[in-house]
Symmetry: C2
Subunit: 156 residues, 2 copies
Amino acid sequence: MTIVKNTELRRELTVGEVAERSGVAVSTLHFYETKGLIRSNRTRGNQRRYPRGVLRRVAVIKVAQRTGIPLSEIQDALSVLPDDRPLTVEDWGRLSESWREQLNERITSLMALRDHLTSCIGCGCLSLRECPLRNPHDVLSMEGAGPRLMDEDSRP
Amino acid sequence: MTIVKNTELRRELTVGEVAERSGVAVSTLHFYETKGLIRSNRTRGNQRRYPRGVLRRVAVIKVAQRTGIPLSEIQDALSVLPDDRPLTVEDWGRLSESWREQLNERITSLMALRDHLTSCIGCGCLSLRECPLRNPHDVLSMEGAGPRLMDEDSRP
DNA sequence: TATTGACCTCAACTATTGTTGAGGTTTTAT
DNA sequence: ATAAAACCTCAACAATAGTTGAGGTCAATA
């Protein structure tokens, strides 16, 4: 790993340095840039140079992705943020609060699903009309069109 | 909706009927068939006819997808199952038990992430070296390469 | 029987999230 | 000054999970 001299502490980072420090590939940083998720300055020779705040942006992107938020939405959220200064606690708080809510919804939904699975294993209700797994529109909460019960005759 | 006469109760289903009852598109059923997730018999005229058990298979597929399992893995799991008879409680139990474990892992991981988000909002630790969000390889538990601390100088 | 709606195949296309490679340029180190 | 390492763009490719459309066939109903 490169030894960073004190005199260089505020130097802008090359794409390779950002890749190494953030743990994402150079190609991914290029890709994020085309998507407007991060931005770079260029040298006279057209090479990217990143303000060090980009590391935090990339960290935020990766965290948001882990919650299941697509890049397009992450971009929407990040676009209201300044990219010319490091994020403040308040900036981050606004973002994470909305993401936390989505994350909670996902968790709740997955837990409900898990509980259905569990009960369907234990009780043999697969044979019954009431089993939520036989009525996917209840359990899966898909769009439109109310519940359509499945037929009796595909039971074990 | 078609009124099903008693005499037809065990008739095989057309692709359109399966689509309507299961809530997935005809094209999706074709697609699942190419992936080996479901199977059909054919009429002399080459049209698909499904045993009614296909409805349960499709329901299972959709449930598994909701847990975040990719189709390839769903196919692996389903491939050990008979497709010539309806699933038994035991068949389903074997499947769902392994999937429930994966589901639990996902839930646990998302909850941990949520807790990090929460604490980072509350405590302002974004400014601190210890913040898990500043050290994505801890929080994100990505492969290889131990923790690489981010620099001091991108703090707010 | 004729017609209409449902069905068939196959290829191409969509969107997401990147990766890979070719061909050429810049920066850094010696 | 030169060579190596890192960088550049652009296009193509990859995997996942399907959807759409063209061109043609089948089957149920009037």
